[in-house]
Symmetry: C2
Subunit: 418 residues, 2 copies
Amino acid sequence: MQKKRIVIVGMGFGGVHAAQALAGKGHDILLVDRNNYHLFQPLLYQVATAGLEQESIAYSVRAMARSWPDVRFHLTEVTGIDFSRKEIQVTSGLLPYDYLIIGAGSATNFFGLTAVEQHAFDLKELEDAEVLRNHILSAFERAVIEPDPARKRALMTFVVVGGGPTGVEFAGALIELVNFVLAKDYPELGIHTARVVLVEATDRLLAAMPQELGMYTLQKLRSMSVEVLLNAQVVDVDAEKVSLHDGAVIPAHTLVWSAGVKAAPLAARLEVPRAAGGRIIVEPDLTLADHPDVFVIGDIAWLQQDGKALPMIAQVAMQMGVYAAKAILAKEQGSVLPPFRYHDKGSMATIGRNAAVANVFGLQLRGYPAWLAWLLLHLYYLIGFRNRIVVLLNWVWYYWFHERQVRLITRRKPMKQD
Amino acid sequence: MQKKRIVIVGMGFGGVHAAQALAGKGHDILLVDRNNYHLFQPLLYQVATAGLEQESIAYSVRAMARSWPDVRFHLTEVTGIDFSRKEIQVTSGLLPYDYLIIGAGSATNFFGLTAVEQHAFDLKELEDAEVLRNHILSAFERAVIEPDPARKRALMTFVVVGGGPTGVEFAGALIELVNFVLAKDYPELGIHTARVVLVEATDRLLAAMPQELGMYTLQKLRSMSVEVLLNAQVVDVDAEKVSLHDGAVIPAHTLVWSAGVKAAPLAARLEVPRAAGGRIIVEPDLTLADHPDVFVIGDIAWLQQDGKALPMIAQVAMQMGVYAAKAILAKEQGSVLPPFRYHDKGSMATIGRNAAVANVFGLQLRGYPAWLAWLLLHLYYLIGFRNRIVVLLNWVWYYWFHERQVRLITRRKPMKQD
């Protein structure tokens, strides 16, 4: 067997699973990412709500690669790909490949709303979570010294857009932060006037889940005093208010946007067929139509199954990563895999303390059992044993003491030039 | 007894101890700091060398203040003080006081070397540690793709200036990070060519310690392959090299400056008598000469004892904080405390694994016993039980597995404007 050079772009869930499946199989593997860590995105909202330190949900790529034979890593950004010359262009030069796996992920989709893009916070990258946490805590500090009651309340009003898992989880975690933790931190503020408003464009929450679980989530969030607005859309925003489609105006200094994702910017830089959200259209074996040596996986890939595009979630990316790796190994042995097929293992979302919804193994769980399942599954998928212990420690602390200890406002200093 | 308004500026070791001693004694206490956390500076070097997450060495001021009756907190920066009107000027307005305790701390002293100030890294604030960690890890990533062997080595060369505790501890932690951790992360680099150079202007290390402990430290660092240059001074630096007093040039992309501290910038904005390093000269009872209601404590205060100025260290600050609090309480009861007297409980510095020096309780310890004493004492003084567990967990992990897990290059995103 000839040794091939396989480049994997992006160390998200797809890229990591591809690398794991390819390592030690006799090929040279080069991992490329603009961060030196794998980020566990599903817990970003807990960093943003002071529940976890950012370091506990990120894991060094080199720490993983240590146990993978013939795997190297380049910290660099991909600026383009020449499919005919089989080269990727990175900031530091050109990298040739025999096989390429593209798993560059996704970015927040602001759907062309430039005011929203300018003012809204989102939760895609590690620093987004820290920036949002700093902003939330700073808003309360500013409220302390704000003499005008209306502005004071606007500083303590948080509008979250999008009733999918991220929006639901963030809104639930934020209202708990306010009611359990910040209420004790800011006795001088009438903290019961703080508002968390969840805005959803359709008539239900968690559209990907069975109807009953969406209903449970709605009731639970409302019982926790999250104001849920269904069939509502944000049309404009500035530093002090959020405007809705029906003319209603919410005085608020914070807008968190979790209403949509699109393909990562890399997709637009390539000459490839693209579908909705700029995602790259792939063949049933995840390759590009004219380039059987190029696989596209995860959020950035667009593939229909049973008449519907596969969702942009971690599970799809992981299965695609493993498939792409196996497909390459099969090709090298002269065989061909059957087309990729996604196996939906279900989904879950946590709402708050002892409350979650899960649709797994054909079961619909809600409340405590779903919450426990959520905790265990997220700990299991988190990479790094030490990270698991730190996360578990924070969760136990919060559960027992109602304390989230990472409520720091860290300052931003630019890196030194050299 | 009349209720007085006491303002404490700065939540370092001095301010926290003053607040603790004043809380619940019948007065209104207002804490002021430009950060919302108390920082445990002695462990900053471990954040910079990927050993600890930054959140584990900082503790929310509001979390502390919760258990302190009649204590409030303002997150703001002090821009000036009007001693005659008894008001401090902060970004958000004016704050009146009956008693004022100033514990604004210190800043790095570059001694007018502007090239050094521009290029060097220092370790005073939380973000300094993160910036330095990012820089160190980025230097290794750049070395991986650097074709020129001389530049490659310069990227892996780190010059540390100052043979005091910070310089010694940082140099030791850095060489261990390189030899134990990064050597495994970067198999493609000849990591034995990496250099850590410690430059000290005098003829010995740890000048505040007994001679024998300084000798032990020198031998230990050299045995760990730190290059220690005594009687040497840095006179110039640019992005790629460090120049010494004797004309020698060290090609290096990183200069860490721990050669001196001076009073925090606030001191220069006040009309007060100042001594060396811009420190505010105080009376034997820590008050300003003409203002018996203003106490100055910690690094920013200058007081002689037995013919020598008190050192700028945490212990002095803590004792001064407690003294200032007690002096205020005494005055309110019509009595007067004897002059402040610093009781030196000794000092210690860790060099590396199982190796430290300590001069405590009249004992001179070195090696393993000193190291153990250092660990226990630092855990004891760290604020927050959860922080202690997280720090201990990281230490155990490193001790057993030679792993420092926080080796992330985090990116800097500016905060959103509003």
